[in-house]
Amino acid sequence: MKYRKGNKLIEGILHQDEKVLRDIYADNFPSVKRYILDNSGSEQDAKDVFQDAIIIIYRKIKEGTFELSSTFKSYIYSVCRFLWLKELERKRERNANSNSYIEYEEVPDVTIDEYEKNEQYKLYQLHFKRLSKDCQKILKLFLDKVPLKDIADELGVDSMQFMKKKKYKCKEQLIKYIKSDPKFESE
């Protein structure tokens, strides 16, 4: 790991410690919100961007690619700014006052791959949560390699044929949700 082990903030994010996460919001969200409101965004945009930044940072910590060369405050701020500029670019509403290329260079730690992975996974996970509880359960258990027979038993289904069809339908419903999302095409 490239970060210092004693860094409570980083450890807190990694362990999803609620108090640490709340502190991060309290200390950093106001300035991010101000930036986004000043650059044609809403409060909800600010919340979304802030959440994405924490998730990207979480993945980086988990993968061992997180390296803090400045303060955490300036790091998360620059990640949020990067994400918001990408969002503006996507909406083709780039703010006349900000030159996105210069700003991107200030975030050497977040790669385009990491950004794109986050966008994709966010979309897939969001639609997964739209599925019925049963469908979510079936797909998760199936992905965890629980045999279909055991999943059927768990749900009280005795026909394997039915179970197979159900699993197929759940997956296809998810694919349908994803493919019909306007954000899917723009990826």
């Binding site: 609620e18 919340k47 993945r59 996974y121 897939y124 997964f128 992905l143 629980v146 045999p147």
Partner: protein, 242 residues
Amino acid sequence: MMEEKIELIENYLSGEMSVKEMLEFEKMLKADSELMEEFKLRKSINDALSEDDVMQLTDKLNDIADSIGSHKKRTLNPLTISSIAAVLIILITVSTIFFRTSKLDNQSIYEKYYQKYPSVVSSRSANEYSMKELFESYENGDYAKAEKNMKDLLENESSNYLVMFYLSLALIEQGKLNEAEKYLHNLVNSKGHIFWEQSNWYLALVYIGQNNNVNAKELLDQIEKENMVHSTEAKEILKVLN
């Protein structure tokens, strides 16, 4: 996309194909760009859905964001993850008990032939601290720690076959055969690394441990015919199984 093709993709991704079927499917993938695109999408979706921890974090962050403002939740179900975990624990426990009590034949074959694979890296990569640490835990029998470290490393280098191979072994040592199977599949599907033959052998043993004799026989047969490492043992087991 035709239902048939979709089923092929899903069967491949869930490891429900024989080695032969997998090879055929891979050929198809190379020749059919539409199929390849759909395959990549579905693989990526599966990867995203495997991120339980991220989905949990998202829920937590939604709650925090909600509590600092007046907006509605974007996503829901804080209980889903924990209920899935509970179901899984029950299922794993039940299947372990079943495995231990019912199929002694396969288990005795498995126990007879399974041998811990020696660690090859302890001295060679001593300069890389994380590698050293992770093979130390493997050698010392701390497989849970080895598993965790290797998974962390693999997150970063998803095609590090050495780590993937030892991760499979650490999983086997903990009795996590289904998960080990997943990684061994990847190893067997990616030729051109030095653990390929060994991976075939351990995958065959995992099949035996899972009472999946159909796949076990097919793979053992291949090990014998292609004269891979452990081909003699493969032949012996085939005699018992047939």
